[in-house]
Symmetry: C2
Subunit: 299 residues, 2 copies
Amino acid sequence: MSKQNTVFKDAYNRALGLLENEARLPSEPDLALRLKVSRTTVRSILAQMVDAGLIRWDKREKTVLRAPTLADRFPEHETDSVAEIIERRFMQQILAGGAEPGMQINELELARDIGVGTTPVREFLIRFSRFGLIEKRPNSHWVLKGFTRDFALELTEVREMFELRSAAAFVRLPPDHPAWRDLAAVEAEHAALLRDIDRRYPDFSELDERFHRIVHGASRNRFIIDFYDVIAIVFHYHYQWNKTDAKARNTIAIQEHLLYIAALRSGDPLRVEDACRRHLASARATLLGSLAPVPEPAL
Amino acid sequence: MSKQNTVFKDAYNRALGLLENEARLPSEPDLALRLKVSRTTVRSILAQMVDAGLIRWDKREKTVLRAPTLADRFPEHETDSVAEIIERRFMQQILAGGAEPGMQINELELARDIGVGTTPVREFLIRFSRFGLIEKRPNSHWVLKGFTRDFALELTEVREMFELRSAAAFVRLPPDHPAWRDLAAVEAEHAALLRDIDRRYPDFSELDERFHRIVHGASRNRFIIDFYDVIAIVFHYHYQWNKTDAKARNTIAIQEHLLYIAALRSGDPLRVEDACRRHLASARATLLGSLAPVPEPAL
DNA sequence: ATTGTGTCCTTTATGGAAAAAAGACAGCGT
DNA sequence: ACGCTGTCTTTTTTCCATAAAGGACACAAT
């Protein structure tokens, strides 16, 4: 076994959707564009569809024979790339499972645990190291620095610097800048989410990321924009395994966002700074509160 | 050929220095500690020294037989790890050689060029991607974003935010904090360098990095501290192939550093901020000036 | 009792192979 | 003329093998 054809399987599943309401399929380059894969993969998909009796394929003629059923789809888990699998398993171990700071991380053991080769594990750890949670000892193991209170404080310190600056840059954007349109869109989604909060509160996480990325984008600074990756991954996994008071927490955050958005629209720098600071302070308090409580100093 | 024993060769060269003025060598664990390698490598070194007729080795007795000569050393280039070789060659291509933004980077070609396997090249690119100069298209090539004017502006913007905050944190350090001792040491080195500037001006680069890392360390924030890696690598390679006015440039920077250090010692936040801003503004101007000039807007 | 050595096992670093996926190009069809 | 397909080549992704390096443990020497 040398490589999983997850790109093929995922694109195949997505291609099944195109068969639903069409009698014939477009050209290969057109399909490649829509599915965001190469024409080589498109041709594999078409060949597979022929085998499955879904289409007849002769040169430019690609006639749909029958509608796809659930049985035609590849199972979800076979469409995950190795990198995604490694990320999930690793984050599970260090955020959910009890992993103490200082612990050694062993590439080989991790690879065996997950059932993949050492190469992708190693590459994952290298990529992941930029998040500041692990550190490499060359020619030796990795050290887990841990999702500690210190980590959260350092993360939020930088986040606050970056977001305040980005928010200030936002109000200086020209009125026809696409960011204003994006902002209006997320504002509407916030309002919609709030109206149906009892049922939809778990959807906030994704909206939160979208909103903050729009704000950070206004900085037009790749380092600031890229830093949001660190925040996003930490929040994503942390709150995924830490759902206490999720509804109340998200409701408050939505309201803060709405005030923050209104401030941005007002164009008043002072009002923006105030709304931004309030929200960031509250986000920090929530994050710190969800960590282990501060150790009591001895009396 | 599967792996270069560069760790061994580099440690062997360093170990030769220990033979100079000693009649016998210490224990294996002791040597391992001094050379910062494992005992396994120490034992390989000792075995090699026996073969070379440098020592007699019997259990705990490690008697020096003769002083090492230049011929005993491994040549410098054999002691560079593969990762170092890749980094140098790559930086040469993108900073010194004319590499236009938007260019594709090909792992395989790069590996063949340098004469190493694809695995370390790939790992280098992943590590390097955090510097914001290249970007990955999954399942496809890397894209060179280039050391452009925009890059320099974005880099210096973040640098200035981080350094101002770190400098402000520095003056709040307790008087017995080791950073004050480090600061005094680099101050002395600055003075010494300035006295012999005609001859020693190329040494400034290293001192510059040492100084700024001390300042950034005061932030006690891993993200701020790690960000200096980006600055360091850019400055290191950029000025290595761009030596115009190096002496004048370094002389000015030393003087700015001395004022900056004096401000830090004064403990006056306003004075610190002023000195820090002045130096950063001058560093930015120098960096931008050394890039291609701004394209003239059409009349 | 502590420190050092001999021995052996494990892990990391790196090259190599092969499947999956991307990409190039000539010739064909409209 | 332009876009599409057939075919072939190249590159990326991944697993695997092996040398280099690290690390563990029992026994030996001080």
